[in-house]
């Protein structure tokens, strides 16, 4: 058994303390329901524990492994929900695409929470609220050029934060 294998309750508790928050955030973002997200987190840790002897930290991080498991759990739960009467529309098989989008959305939102307030604020005002740079500059009492450069440094900070949380191009 490789060292670091996830085989007993204590290992699972340690892994939970380190990663449950992110996994829950991702599950909630993908499934859009607190109850389902909770179920997804529980199922992911159970699956991780069942396969715990196969986890090898030499191959990849625990976080990456847990996210791979969570991704499958979310797909399974999403499918189960889609076949429940009243939820499926026209019997359409749920595609994997929305999950990829949910993962990207969650990653970006998580990255936004990690960058500085100043950068986040500038991106919210100019991009999400669509306000002109001049207006934002006046409100913040800085030159317009500063708003522009903060947009750039904000995106760079996002890029770094995304890589930190495992995003790859």
């Amino acid at each position: 058994m490789p060292p670091g294998a996830l085989t007993d309750e204590r290992d699972v508790r340690t892994a939970y303390a380190a990663h449950a928050g992110e996994l829950y955030g991702f599950a909630l973002r993908s499934l859009g329901d607190r109850g389902l997200a909770e179920e997804a987190v529980q199922e992911s840790f159970l699956r991780a524990w069942r396969a715990g002897q196969r986890f090898d930290p030499q191959i990849g991080s625990l976080r990456t492994w847990l996210f791979a498991i969570m991704r499958n759990v979310v797909i399974d739960l999403g499918r189960a929900r889609a076949v429940r009467p009243g939820v499926a529309e026209g019997g359409v098989e749920p595609s994997v695409e929305p999950l990829e989008e949910a993962l990207l959305a969650w990653q970006l939102e998580e990255a936004m929470r990690r960058i500085g307030e100043q950068h986040r604020q500038i991106l919210v005002e100019t991009y999400y609220r669509g306000r002109p740079y001049a207006e934002v500059a006046e409100e913040l009492g800085v030159p317009e050029g500063t708003v522009k450069s903060r947009v750039y440094y904000g995106l760079r900070a996002l890029r770094v934060a995304l890589e930190e949380i495992g995003y790859e191009d």
Binding site: R13, Y24, V41, L46, R50, A51, L108, V124, Y128, L155
Partner: protein, 223 residues
């Protein structure tokens, strides 16, 4: 090479990649990008970020949602329940071996434990030898912070028979693990505990009615 031009162009790259740059500045930036590989590579690293921007919901930037309190405990409970069910299945397999000698039974159990999904690596399965015909005792010992958790299964005695379990340590230490009754038809293990650490446990003694059975534990098992 990085120049003042690069600095100027880069500071415009954010607005450029988000499509927020006025026409005139866009043309200037593009002209610079045409001739500057370093700035083009910077643009490439920001492009995926810009593509992700419309997917995100700014309402969710404030605070990460927290998993409900108690979820960790529910997961731990589910794991314990599943482990118990696995152990029961394994105990039953041990019992199903019937007439096999204890040594063979122990070997088969060891193989099964190795191949049979997750189990605590420190868990010890105990086989009792020299039992009267038709009688079976199976035990699994697990180290716990408080001492040792003992899972017992007894079969082939009169229903209602009182069973008493004690762990023996070095220097004559004996710490009781508790009592249980065998009930005919109740296919369930008894879960007991003793304050003696598993690492210090040398033997397990089971009194079944008036008879006592002893099995070695730990290193003594192989001696």
């Amino acid at each position: 090479m990085k120049t003042d031009r690069c600095r100027e162009a880069r500071e415009a790259l954010g607005a450029y990649v988000l499509g927020q740059l006025p026409e005139e500045e866009r043309a200037t930036t593009e002209a610079h990008l045409d001739g500057c590989a370093a700035c083009r590579s910077e643009l490439e690293s920001l492009t995926p970020v810009a593509r992700m921007m419309p997917l995100a919901d700014p309402e969710r930037f404030a605070a990460a949602p927290l998993p409900p309190p108690g979820l960790a405990n529910r997961i731990a409970t589910a794991i314990r329940g599943e482990r118990r069910a696995q152990r029961r299945r394994r105990l039953r397999l041990g019992l199903a071996l019937g007439g096999a000698t204890a040594a063979v039974a122990a070997a088969v159990l060891a193989i099964f434990v190795l191949s049979g999904g997750p189990s605590s690596s420190a868990e010890q399965r105990i086989a009792f030898g020299s039992l009267p015909p038709g009688m079976k005792i199976v035990a699994a010992l697990e180290p716990r912070p408080f001492g040792t958790e003992i899972h017992m299964y007894v079969e082939g005695v009169r229903s209602g028979t009182l069973c008493r379990v004690t762990l023996r340590g070095p220097k004559g230490i004996r710490l009781p693990a508790g009592t249980f009754r065998y009930r005919y038809g109740a296919d369930e293990e008894a879960v007991l505990s003793s304050a003696l650490d598993l690492s210090r446990t040398r033997a397990i003694v089971v009194h079944v009615g008036h008879r006592a059975f002893v099995a070695p534990v730990g290193a003594d098992r192989r001696a």
